[in-house]
Amino acid sequence: MEHHIVLRVVAKSFIPVILLFALYVQFHGDYGPGGGFQAGVIFGSGIILYALIFGLQTTKKVLPQSIIHHMTGIGVLLYAGIGVLSLIRGGNFLDYSVLGATPAAGQHIGIMLIELGVGVTVAFVMVSLFYSFAGYRQKDLDDPAAEDDDEQDSIEKSDQQ
């Protein structure tokens, strides 16, 4: 699909819109349908679309695999971290009321932050799933994709020594 000029041009203009829409869904979840999960799926699909059209390798250069893996964890850490933060500020676990000047303000801050955590984890897990499945297929075709992973492996190996 990497050679279809029409697809490339259309996608180039569409992908920013998709990502922007994801952000809208993310932060508008308090007022209408939507929220972190839906936003994450849309954001992930935007990146997956990019990978479908411009190739997995190009995408991996923009968003290296290791960053994706870290980000999946960071969303969960953010969410659970808010829980710990409310403990520290004297509330129960995940009690957002203690996070702001008034309970309602605290609820707003808490909901926004945890929805962000949900969005980050979901978006990057979606991309990670796509990388895993698409990357696996490329191995069968014996694509030069293997090289990229080799580098990563050697980094990992030196880590472990």
Binding site: G35, H108, V118
Partner: protein, 183 residues
């Protein structure tokens, strides 16, 4: 009107489900499943669950179908092997179904505002969202705050799936070595 739409959509859903069972082409089954999910999303809209509809459309018709399709393309599986349709599983499912129909005799009717499910805790959520959380979307308030702990679990589940797939599908060293020598 609402009820008629609901009726028609559910009937269509049944047809689709039976189509999926009978179809031997796996590709066809996967596509039908995508449509099935989209129909489900429509039903959720009719039943006032807009957030759920949004998610079902994105996940069922989107992510799940894409994942099934990419699995099909990796494995190259096309047709389901023909097999006899044995009687015993049919009897088991029929028995469970009959038990469920029996169970439904004492259920409150769909849409009954006085059903226990709609009386006990639910009104408090709507009132509490107005006064304590102070955001318009009650579903977001319940999801993120009242039952925020469930949502933490949900994020953990999706994280687990990410870790699992990564672990299963990341290349293993020895095998790649051999493919490289081969190329």
């Amino acid at each position: 009107m609402e009820a008629l739409v609901d009726l028609a959509l559910l009937a269509l859903l049944t047809v689709l489900a039976i189509g999926i069972v009978r179809l031997r082409s796996l590709f066809g089954a996967a596509m039908l499943f995508g449509i099935y999910s989209l129909l489900c999303a429509l039903i959720f809209v009719v039943l006032d669950a807009v957030d759920v509809a949004f998610t079902e459309a994105a996940v069922g018709a989107g992510i799940s179908t894409i994942l099934i399709l990419s699995t099909l393309s990796i494995t190259g599986a096309r047709l389901e092997v023909k097999h006899s349709r044995p009687l015993i599983p049919f009897l088991i499912t029929a028995a469970i179904g009959a038990a469920l129909i029996y169970a439904s005799l004492d259920m409150p009717l769909v849409g009954d505002p006085n059903a226990p499910a709609n009386l006990h805790v639910a009104p408090e959520y709507i009132e509490g969202t107005r006064t304590e959380v102070q955001i318009p979307n009650v579903v977001t308030a319940v999801l993120a705050s009242y039952r925020g702990y469930d949502t933490l679990g949900e994020v953990t589940v999706i994280f687990t799936a990410g870790v699992g797939v990564l672990c299963l599908l990341s290349r293993r060293r020895p095998r790649r070595k051999t493919t490289r020598r081969g190329s």
